[in-house]
Amino acid sequence: MNQKIISNDFVIRFAGEGGQGLVTSADAAAKAASRSGYYCQTFSTFPSQIMGGPASSQVRISTTQVLSSGDFVDVLVVLNQYAFDNHIQDLNQENGVCIYNAQDCVPSGEGNYFGIDADKLAKESGNTRAANMVILGAVAKLIDFKLESIESFIKDRFSRGRPGDEEIIKSNIIALSSGAKVAEKSGFNVGSLAPSKPPKHDQIIISGNAALSLGATSAGLDSYYGYPISPATTILVWMEQNLVQKDKFVFQVSSEIEAINNVIGAGFSGKKAMTATAGPGLSLMSEGIGLAWMAEIPCVIVDVQRGGPATGLPTKSEQSDLFACMFPAHGDVRLPILAPGTVEECFIIGGLALNWAERYQGPVIIMSEFSLADRSENIKKPILSNVIDERRNSKSSDNGFKRYQSLGKNGELSAMPIPGNQAAYVANGSEHDEIGDTTHLPKHHIRLTERRFGKLSLLNDAHFEIENTSSEIVIMPWGSSKGVAREAYEKLISDNLNIGWIYSICLNPLPKEVLNELRLKKIVIVPELNYQGQWSSIMRMDGINAVSVTQYTGLPFKPSELAEKIREKIKQTMEV
């Protein structure tokens, strides 16, 4: 027990009640670790109530890029009995250690547990609010994380130029070391975190939703309209704080129906416009999204998925809105969909979606997901001058403009004039002729239906990954399951399975290269967080032999479990 294992990777979880500062603790640990050159990823789970209720927040710290929230917990901090009872089974059986709040918890059975009276120690440090620091000190000690790094983090954080700063810093440092001492005395240790290998480039630490917002803003977002809904609310809040600039407009409106029609108006008027919502709001936007498709109006709709259907599981993880996003409205509609798989991709897609909307003159959907939107991760600091702000072709000519012509020989789209300039037309949700006037003659409906689907081919520059093309079996995750699928994939590869990897941040239209490759495969295995296997279903529509590995628990996959399920699925399908 006293022989220290050196590890590249630790998961630290704080479990207790909502309102006990669990997220703050995990975030502080993530910040401190990333300042020391480690990679981090946080993950939280909480009920949909404001205070109290069982909640937890964790951080995974690693010497390399973190792909998922991991299988087990190496250091578990539990603040009450319920937390102990419900999280202890996640503790790493080998070296995991549980720190419990000695006042509120009596651990059952034997194990690597020790109690700490953080409140008392905080008081003794001279700062009743430093209980979190006591715990952080204990945690750091358990994984041999240098206290000095946390101390420097504390100094930065509390150096706010106020009179009491010095004292607060001092007491926090005392609290930190008193926690460390308890951990040392306990005799437990989890191992030693291997030295960090800091990347060469600058980094930022940011959540998925903030990255998406920042990406959109740096690509020229002009107007944002939204209505609060978990887990998309943080995008609205971000915009209200940051999109406060000349000629920009941001507003909390009265419903999602308003929001979708607002972005249609703004998009029509020549601006880059966006709204973000979750499932219930997406459903309400159905009619409006159909209008944007029909009248060909650039706008971006972000769906930060949570558990469904209906009000569903507002603070849980699920990837079950794919059918609803791909076919969001009545009539022949199939929307372009971008689904980020990492926080970095959230940034990229925030801008790309806006650019695509401009380029193909229509609505684009971004599908994020609770666990991705909410987690913090340190990523490479984006270079803003590299971000493209693509604008629609709006070349005006005469009045009575043929805005809705058929596609050109090379797929070019007729220009979309901007109000105030030459070349007025009517953007029409009824079927129409070239200038937008209503007509229901067969020839126009045929021509315009083909135009609407044809122009999707302009959206051909999204990121994709194809690896190990020689294998017949391929893993193809989408969206937020990318990281965990990658971890599972690497496990299976290291077990000498001959499988390939395909990933596309764009689900519609699928890049040609991806589609061609997929069609060659004997089996395409899709890990996804829904019941119906929605993405594999859509791929089967398109002639791909895809099967899903599903999970519908409200939680993300765990890497080892997923690897096992994939192995199972391969066996099954190869047997048939």
């Binding site: 990333s34 600058d202 980094q203 930022i204 630490i205 940011i206 903030a210 920042l214 803003t217 740096s218 107007s223 940051n242 406060v244 600039q245 000349k246 507003f251 409106v253 009265s254 129906i257 308003e258 929001a259 029609n261 607002n262 972005v263 249609i264 108006g265 703004a266 998009g267 029509f268 008027s269 020549g270 601006k271 416009a273 409006g288 159909g290 209008l291 009248a295 340190n378 600091k381 803003l384 009045n399 009575g400 109000p419 105030g420 300039n421 030459q422 070349a423 007025a424 037309y425 009517v426 953007a427 029409n428 949700g429 002729d433 200038i435 937008g436 006037d437 209503t438 007509t439 003659l441």
Partner: protein
Amino acid sequence: MSERNQEYDFKWCPGCGDFGVKRALEMAINTFTEEFEIPRTSNVIVAGIGCSGNMVHLIDGEQPFGIHGIHGRSLPIAFGISSSRPDLNTIVVAGDGDFLSIGGEHIAPSAYRNPNITCIVMDNGVYGLTKGQSSPTSETGQITTSTPFGKLERKMNPLELYLTYGVSFIASHYSSKPKLLSDFILEAMKHKGMSIVHVQSPCTTYNDTYDILKGDRKKGIPGTAFIIDENHDPTDYDKAKALVAQEGVPLGLIYRKEPATINELQNKLIMDNPSKNVEDILSSYSI
């Protein structure tokens, strides 16, 4: 039929009130465009779904921009336009079903914001395009295709609602005097903030109210439409309330005030607070 689309287009029935509204709107657009020396394409017409909404395709002469959206959503579409592009003259054209029933939810929140939008509501007390069902402004007891035994619920008083919501410019008129009507539409366009011109525009096919509005001189029956007393002070909220509580259809300006528009308020907020650029925002995430 429009000049532009000979092949197939929408036509109003003979005598439809919307013809008069169209003429009035054309005149107002012409004058507004000339007076403010803006390009004619700086006018944007946002149309609802209904016979009335077809207005957007039928404007004569050089075309304004237009958007013919979905039923009931002209106001939120217009808000998206007007808040993003306050330089445009954003005009809503919609029917009573579109604006007051399915779209009714959007009036109050818009009024609280006071965006610079001019709404022209063509009230014929019926759903014309779907062939004569009852609307919020149909009379109680009225027989329509959807109320074969008479409409049961109370009739809406839209003017009273607009006032209560705090719409900052409210006029009421009818379609029979396009020139007069156009003056109020023009005033509404000039008004900085949310304006509504509520027009009685009879549906000759399903709810012909011309006689009721104008009365019958020969028979000595007075019309329900009456010109607003010239002493009426449209800046007096209480007087406006009293006016719309009266029986009948007032013709003229009911109410006007000039609170800041939402864009003015947001501009002030931007002036008052340090403007953020993307570099600064990005840096706040540094580790």
